[in-house]
Amino acid sequence: MIEVAENKCDFCGCCVGVCPVNCIELKEADIRIDHELCIDCDICVFICPIKVLSQTDPKRTSSSEAA
């Protein structure tokens, strides 16, 4: 599951632009991930300029399949 580090997000939208299933919701100062829709591709984790997002599932490695 993708987790957002509390109070760290800058709300820049970079992750939203690459999310293949459009499941990240970004308001002026609020970010939410729809975990039902999320396919755990980890692309958002890679692209975030300040690494606010992380994959909590330890079994998943940062594989290249997503790219």
Partner: protein, 395 residues
């Protein structure tokens, strides 16, 4: 009040340069326009290096001195081995103060008759018979639905409007630059010079910029492509290391992060009742990452088409497609060429970059220009030489 008005000709989602330019042009063309911006202030935060060319601004208006933090006449490139090459630009550029610039663009739109509303977050589209007929969202805690003949997705890099309408706008990881910038003070910079640092160690698959805002202040930022961001080191870390090395004495005034889509323009920029402009349509120049002027240009062209469509038989896809055609005619062809050039130059190893800098240093300073630089850079790929010639000389 916008809340009472049942329908607008156009609803623009997003108050950046692309959205405001659309709104102004469409309102000047006699359309009723509502622009919805989710943030509380137009132009804030500034997620941008703020560099533009003089010629780019002049497509729209005489550059206003109140927008300009620095005038740029010279360029400096730093190679991985710290070889420095400098030369005068054939065309001057500016570092803007985008807080003021974006604000003025929105004000121009209101003066032309558009209604601009901030704190208005759009979270979905009204769709009937597969046609977009409006938007829904929240304005200061209150739900709203508003109908429009055309909805314009000007919602930037985080665009969702197009995807809600079934247009494919997702940016590939390799085509997204993960960006960060700090505005710093307490440093010495050449106030009329763009500086670019090119190396995998500074910004893999992108570049690091130092854009002066006066003698002692600058926007210092970088973008790294998603493909490299995957390796685990964040854009932030690259920038912190650079500042520690080059400007340890700098005081940081602001830090912003952001994504820069260095992609091909989206395949479909329109559908029934919907148009996409600016970053939402991937109009950013894939080599430079510049998206202010190209976004405004797309906004202008889209509005011209919208005015014609609504004076004609309506906002059908067929009537909106001329915008796509106009974009490809004016900027799109060069955009594709820049994309091909980017695909090659972003893969250069540091050795390649050092060799290019050496080759370029051999040219006497007064004979250096961007065309010659890029020609040396793509020398090994003759097909790209043609692209370089076309984009820089217009042949």
């Amino acid at each position: 009040m916008w809340k009472e008005q049942r329908e607008f000709d156009c609803i623009v989602v997003g108050g950046g340069p692309a959205g405001s330019t659309f709104a102004r042009t469409a309102a000047q063309g006699g359309l009723s326009v509502l622009l919805l911006e989710k943030d509380r202030d137009i132009g804030v935060p500034v997620r941008c290096g703020e560099a533009v060319s003089d010629a780019g601004l002049r497509i729209f208006f005489e550059p206003n001195p109140r927008w300009i933090a620095s005038t740029i006449t010279r360029i400096k490139l730093v190679a991985p081995n710290e070889t420095v090459v400098e030369f005068d630009l054939s065309e001057k550029g500016y570092i803007l103060d985008r807080r003021i610039f974006d604000y003025d663009l929105a004000e121009y739109a209101t003066k032309a008759g558009a209604v601009v509303v901030t704190k208005a977050y759009v979270d979905g589209l009204l769709i009937e018979d597969d046609k977009v007929v409006g938007v829904k969202g929240t304005h200061i805690g209150e739900r709203f639905e508003k109908r429009a003949k055309i909805v314009i997705g000007a919602d930037g890099v985080e665009s969702r409007v197009g995807r809600w309408a079934g247009l494919e706008t997702t940016c590939k990881l390799k085509d997204m630059e993960s960006g960060i910038q700090k505005t710093v003070t307490g440093i010495d910079v050449h106030e009329h010079m763009f500086e670019f640092y090119l190396s995998k160690r500074w910004a893999p698959g992108g570049y690091l910029w130092v854009f002066p805002k006066g003698k002692n202040k600058a926007n210092i930022g970088l973008g790294i492509t998603g493909s490299y961001a995957k390796d685990g080191k964040a854009a932030q870390q690259y920038l912190d290391e650079f500042l520690e090395w080059k400007y340890p004495q700098a005081s940081v005034l602001t830090t912003v992060v952001g994504g820069i889509p260095v992609a091909k323009t989206v395949k479909e920029m329109v559908s029934d009742g919907i148009m996409l402009v600016g970053d939402a349509a991937h109009t950013v120049n894939p080599v430079t990452g510049g998206g202010i002027v190209s976004g405004m240009r797309s906004g202008l062209l889209a509005a011209e088409t919208a005015v014609k469509a609504l004076n004609n038989t309506g906002p059908s896809k067929k009537n909106l497609v001329p915008y796509e055609k106009a974009w490809h005619k004016v900027g799109g062809k060069n955009h594709e060429r820049f994309y091909r050039i980017k695909e090659t130059i972003y893969q250069f190893e540091d050795d390649d970059l050092n060799r290019i800098a050496d080759g370029f240093s051999d040219i006497p300073e007064n004979e250096r220009n961007l065309f010659k630089l890029f020609s040396i850079a793509v020398r090994k790929k003759p097909s790209l030489l043609i692209d370089v010639a076309r984009v820089f000389t217009g042949v």
